[in-house]
């Protein structure tokens, strides 16, 4: 009886998971097929005669292409570099020094980040950027994005840094190395997988950002792809499925490539050197 029941509940669980999977997988499948279909609808169908015409049309839209291949790269790349650099140094410092109330500091930072990065702080952030003459500049967007992403990034990085035994750095100290050299030769190479994870995470976040760029930027030629996507809407305000899907396909590609690249280059391997 109990066996029967547990089989039944397992079956239910599998069915439920399948339903959930279908719910999330369908849009992705659509994104894979739609761009290559001449007359796209909202249903997933394998195209009879696949075409690249949609991409040709998209590439004729200069505004959208500049948004994607210039502005988005600048914003996401800039945010990625600044978040990764600051988070690495900050978390290393936080992990390796004895500061009273260190953990509280990190949690308070976390808490504030949801405000700084969020809608609530948009007005003061806008005013701040205005007085610093950073409105309609990519630097302004990068700074605001960095501010919003940093606390969570530091939080993530600290886990990586904390998991590196201090013995390595102590061994280097005894070998005669100074603090800067130890960071460069020992600590940084060891936390590099963590840096890669945080960098990707920051890149993806900035890549998809909509609200902050739309508020901080003025001129169309500075807008990122998330805004430019709307240039593929008809005058009546409805999306042109063929072009939107083709553009979205291009929009999603770099994130995927970056992920694969970093995973291939750094992976998450870890060679031992400490007796356990």
């Amino acid at each position: 009886m109990r066996n029967y029941e547990s089989t039944f509940s397992k079956l239910l669980l599998v069915l439920f998971s399948l339903a959930c999977m279908a719910f999330f997988a369908l849009p992705l499948l659509w994104l894979l097929t739609a761009p290559f279909t001449p007359m796209t609808t909202l249903s997933v169908e394998i195209p009879d005669n696949p075409t690249l015409d949609n991409f040709r049309t998209v590439f004729k839209n200069e505004f959208a292409i500049r948004a994607l291949f210039r502005n988005n790269l600048i914003i996401a790349g800039g945010a990625m570099l600044s978040v990764a650099a600051v988070a690495t140094l900050a978390s290393y410092g936080l992990s390796r020094t004895r500061i009273v109330g260190r953990d509280i500091l990190v949690y308070v930072l976390m808490l504030f980040s949801s405000v700084v990065g969020g809608t609530a702080a948009m007005v003061p952030l806008f005013l701040l950027a205005y007085h610093l003459k950073l409105i309609d500049t990519h630097v302004g967007v990068i700074l605001v994005m960095t501010g919003g992403l940093l606390p969570a990034a530091i939080f993530m990085m600290r886990d990586f840094v904390d998991s590196i035994p201090r013995s390595y750095e102590e061994a280097a100290l005894v070998c005669g190395a100074g603090p800067f050299r130890i960071f460069r030769d020992i600590a940084f190479p060891l936390v590099r997988p963590g840096v890669a994870v945080v960098a990707i995470w920051a890149f993806v976040n900035a890549w998809g950002a909509f609200l902050i760029p739309v508020v901080m930027l003025r001129s169309p030629e500075n807008m990122p792809a998330s805004v430019a996507l709307y240039s593929f809407y008809s005058e009546a305000g409805t999306p042109v499925h063929t072009l939107v899907s083709a553009y979205a396909f291009l929009y999603g590609l770099p994130v995927l490539v970056l992920y694969l690249l970093v995973n291939w280059r750094f992976g998450f391997r870890f060679f031992g050197g400490i007796k356990s």
Binding site: S167, Y168, A171, A172, L173, G176, A177, F271, G273
Partner: protein, 361 residues
């Protein structure tokens, strides 16, 4: 090479006193072993000398320079860590050569020197591998090589051979001994292995609860333990310790169960220091007891409990009242003993300890 001086060093971790008022002087070219049970503060003492910890009290001098608060790189030391601490992302070549790289030695010179040291330690053909790709014993030798690769003022070893099998350990030990005699390195060497300490060290410091219980030449520490802790810690099996009462005027030692040992002829030696004869502990090593099946003068009766062969020697464990007394016999064939035997202590090598456990005389 330089001498090391620790002056009244105390190191606390919160409530816990890991090193308690330790004074130790290691002369130029001397090899001192720190021996003691787990958690007694050996590693902490090494870390204090290395500059990885700063003492709460006391001074540390290397050469004639006070280094108490200086960072490690201003002390010119080399250290082997208990957990090896080889850099996982570097090859063994880069690991071992790191102290040279930091000092700006050119790559070809570094490679030559590393190969030389690594070959001595039999890991010369593993230099292209990373620490994760070699065995524990090989990692340990790599960390020893990293310490030896450059000529430091002071060498600190934290159980550097603990993970090697018996044969490799003997070879590595011989290599270290050779190095010590050849180069005359100043070294502090932490080990659990008494035989290793005896073999390598010029002097041994036995530690317990952060204090140095005895400091001396290995044979002195073995032959004349300064207190019952050292007596029970050094030697395998360790010294027999028997509670007793001494009546110095009558020239007698009284054990449990009315056993009496005549020490009239030793009144001279012990008389001066024995005021109160109660709560005394008698210590005698298993090899300094003669055993016989018949009563001989100056012996005490006991019962055979168990006889263990130790390969070329025998360990006879006997019972004196409630206490076990081990006797070592150096002979090939199994000892033939009746159940009741008499033990005769070599009184020249028998020691009395007061109720605090300190040696009397």
């Amino acid at each position: 090479m330089a001498k090391i001086q620790l002056e009244n060093i105390t190191k606390k971790f919160g409530e816990l006193t890991a090193v308690n008022d330790v004074s130790l002087e290691v002369s130029d070219g001397e090899f001192v072993a720190l021996l003691g049970p787990s958690g007694c503060g050996k590693t902490t003492t090494l870390r204090l000398i290395a500059g990885l910890e700063v003492p709460n009290e006391g001074r540390i001098l290397i050469g004639d320079k006070e280094v108490t608060k200086l960072p490690p790189r201003e002390r010119d030391i080399a250290m082997v860590f208990q957990d090896y601490a080889l850099y996982p992302h570097m090859t063994l070549l880069d690991n071992i050569g790191y102290p040279l790289k930091v000092r700006g030695v050119a790559k070809p010179d570094m490679t030559a020197r590393v190969t030389e040291v690594a070959t001595e330690l039999q890991i010369g053909d593993l230099l292209e591998r990373r620490p994760g790709q070699v065995s524990g014993g090989q990692q340990q030798r790599a960390s020893v090589a990293r310490a030896l690769v450059h000529q430091a003022q002071v060498f600190l070893f934290d159980e550097p051979l603990s993970n090697l099998d018996a044969k490799l350990r003997l070879e590595a030990r011989a290599f270290l001994k050779h190095l010590q005699q050849e180069v005359g390195v100043t070294a502090v060497y932490v080990t659990h292995d008494q035989a290793e300490a005896m073999a390598l060290a010029d002097r041994i410091a036995v530690m317990n609860y952060g204090r140095v219980m005895q400091l001396g030449h290995p044979l002195d520490v073995y032959r004349r333990p300064a207190n019952t802790f050292v007596a029970a810690f050094i030697g395998s099996p360790p010294m027999n310790l028997l509670p007793c009462e001494v009546d110095i005027n009558a020239g007698k030692i009284l054990f449990e169960g009315d056993r009496v040992l005549d020490i009239a002829s030793y009144r001279e030696r012990w008389g001066g220091v024995l005021k109160n004869g109660r709560d005394i502990t008698l210590g005698v090593r298993p090899e300094n007891i003669a055993i016989s099946s018949t009563e001989v003068p100056g012996s005490i009766p006991s019962r055979v409990y168990v006889i263990q062969p130790l390969g070329g020697e025998w360990l006879v464990v006997t019972q004196v009242g409630g206490e076990l007394v081990s006797v070592r016999l150096f002979q090939d064939e199994a000892p033939e003993l009746s159940e009741n035997v008499w033990l005769k202590f070599d009184l020249d090598r028998t020691f009395l300890y007061d109720k605090n456990g300190d040696l009397l005389q």
